[in-house]
Amino acid sequence: MPEMTYRDALRAGLREEMLRDDRVFIMGEDVGLNWGGAFKVTKGLAEEFGEARVRDTPISENTIAGAAVGAAITGLIPVAEIMFGDLIALAMDQVCNQAAKMRYMFGGQTSVPLVLRSVFGGGKNIASHHSQSLEAWFMHTPGLKIAVPAFAYDVKGLIKTAIRDPDPVMFFEHKLVYDRKEEVPDEDYTIPFGQAKVRREGSDVTVWGTFFMLHKALEVADELEKEGISVEVIDPRTLAPLDTRTLIESVKKTGRLVLVTEETKTGATTAEVAASIQEEAFDWLDAPIKRVNAPDTPVPFSPPLEDYFIPDNKRIAQAIRDIM
């Protein structure tokens, strides 16, 4: 099986879906010939499929998202890219009031089969408008599905599922995982939404997290193994639908849960997961659920400030030790 970066695996998934289905097209700022996407995800696709199907747009986020809605309800399958997750703020009406609600408020008359790709996360010293992790905004909006792939194998399978899904899918990536390599099959495969993956088995404590924090949690798990603490790491892969069953099974085994994301703490996805688990698995918990998040501030610029803001291995390890 060939090794491939997350970026290349994502591009392969997009390309295969465009070859499979003529209705699929890509639109967004600088996704086409001259640039190939700010993170080079769509590089080469405009050359292969033409500028109509890999379509550069003006800097008009709300209309990019709205045009995706209009195209989706009239027979196409748009994959719209918003260059940075922070900029979805400009498209919130189309995402949350239109795409998410159309099927419901029109009584099931139409589906909205669109995919909106964007990228979250810090670690690149690009400050408050290009570094946030805002996935909770969308988890709080009924009608959206949310994929959060952190691994190359998953990103290919999940983008295919997203494109074939009849409902609107927010497809979130992370800046620091694009270059991570993994074995990725050349053939067609999909990964069902709502199925978490146990990334590492353990018996003493469960760590649930997303994006780059998952990779950190896996490193921490290796470190703590040496101290005799056995850590199980769970990757939700999608936030909506959210697989709580896999997490509850794990908590039944370990009795302890640490939730780790790069989001600011208040109202984060971790808050929702913590609430769900205490509702459904309280009797199996031997310790309070612990959250590891960024502080409730904007994302700072200067390297020492940003390093302090983003949770690191030390903080994750400490949270685990605290409840052992």
Partner: protein
């Protein structure tokens, strides 16, 4: 008191008599439908709020008569007239307004989301100016799928001050999309006069900045709206890109349910609400003058429409409310 003098664009003699009759029928149908909605509102059986289309009927009638069945329209919060003119089932439309399970949206949408997808309505939206980007996408889809379908997007004077107006007009122009932007300038955004909120004399002239051909028409004259739309549709189908049509018109009622529109100057209101400016009267007289319609025929059409509307009201009233737990249905295609 129109903001600018408008004229009929083509010789009235060249207009097909059938079209004149159709324009009268659609204008009247919207009028009678909305009058019934107003009655039902008086009976206190319409939940929530209402934005009536009364007074603006000629816009919906004129635009939709120039479209074919497979063309799309994008509606607004004041959408009853658009949907009815495009050919929506009146039973399902009235039932929706009453929140019944037999409504076109199964009682999930109501007045502000009144939609019938199968007759080519992309949706009615409660967020002012949010329909424009959706119309861009639908028109892009018509173009990319190689159809000759076009999209007519209705929006108000107020919406032309929202950011989506600029974004969407620009995108439609650079991609030469088959789009007809229809501004229904009823002179007020809720209670705010457009002249306070727009520096130019017309809204149409804003389209010049996007190199979009534009025209101002009398929005109470269905024939004038129709003619402008025919030209715009022709341009759109031939790949010539979008057109903006500003239809100057006036609400017969206030903005919404309990608004008596006291903020409108008496002289202005008297002019617009006069018999002379009445959308139904204007198109009926034009049609009769041109021999497209006799008084008797006009009466017969009215009687038929009124009967259908009455039947729809009975249907809507007799229909059941949805079961409470149906509130959980239709969030996603499949239940997760």
């Amino acid at each position: 008191m129109l903001l600018v003098k408008t004229r009929l664009l083509i010789d009235i003699m060249t207009v097909d008599k059938k079209m004149l009759k159709e324009l009268y029928t659609r204008t009247l149908k919207v009028r009678r439908f909305e009058e019934k909605v107003w009655d039902l509102f008086g009976e206190n059986i319409v939940p929530g709020t209402l934005h009536l289309y009364l007074g603006q009927e000629a816009v919906a009638a004129g635009v939709t008569t120039a479209l074919k069945e497979t063309d799309w329209i994008q509606s607004t919060h004041r959408g009853h007239g658009h949907v009815i003119a495009k050919g929506a089932d009146m039973n399902a439309a009235l039932a929706e307004l009453l929140g019944k399970a037999s409504g076109s949206c199964k009682g999930k949408g109501g007045s502000m989301h009144i939609t019938q997808f199968d007759v080519g309505v992309l949706g009615a939206t409660g967020v002012v100016a949010s329909g424009l980007p959706i119309a861009v996408g639908a028109a892009l889809s018509c173009q990319m799928r190689g159809t000759d379908d076009v999209v007519a997007c209705f929006f108000g004077d107020g919406a032309s001050n929202n950011g989506t107006f600029g974004e969407s007009l620009n995108m439609s122009a650079i991609w030469k999309l088959p789009l007809i932007w229809v501004v229904e300038n009823n002179l007020y955004a809720m209670g705010t006069p457009i002249k306070m909120m727009c520096p130019s004399v017309t809204i149409a002239q804003r389209a010049d900045g996007y190199c979009i051909p534009n025209v101002v028409v009398d929005g109470n004259n269905a024939l004038a709206v129709y003619e402008a739309t025919v030209e715009a549709v022709k341009r759109a189908r031939e790949g010539g890109g979008p057109t903006l049509i500003e239809c100057q018109t006036y609400r017969m009622k206030g903005h919404s349910r309990f608004d008596a529109a006291k903020y409108r100057p008496e002289k202005e209101a008297n002019y617009w609400l006069s018999e002379e400016r009445d959308a139904v009267r204007i198109i009926r007289e034009l049609a009769i003058q041109q021999g497209a319609l006799t008084e008797k025929e006009a009466g017969r059409i009215d009687a038929k429409i009124s009967k259908d509307v009455e039947k729809a009201a009975v249907f809507a009233k007799r229909s059941e409310y949805p079961k409470p737990e149906e509130a959980l249905d239709d969030v996603f295609m499949e239940v997760l």
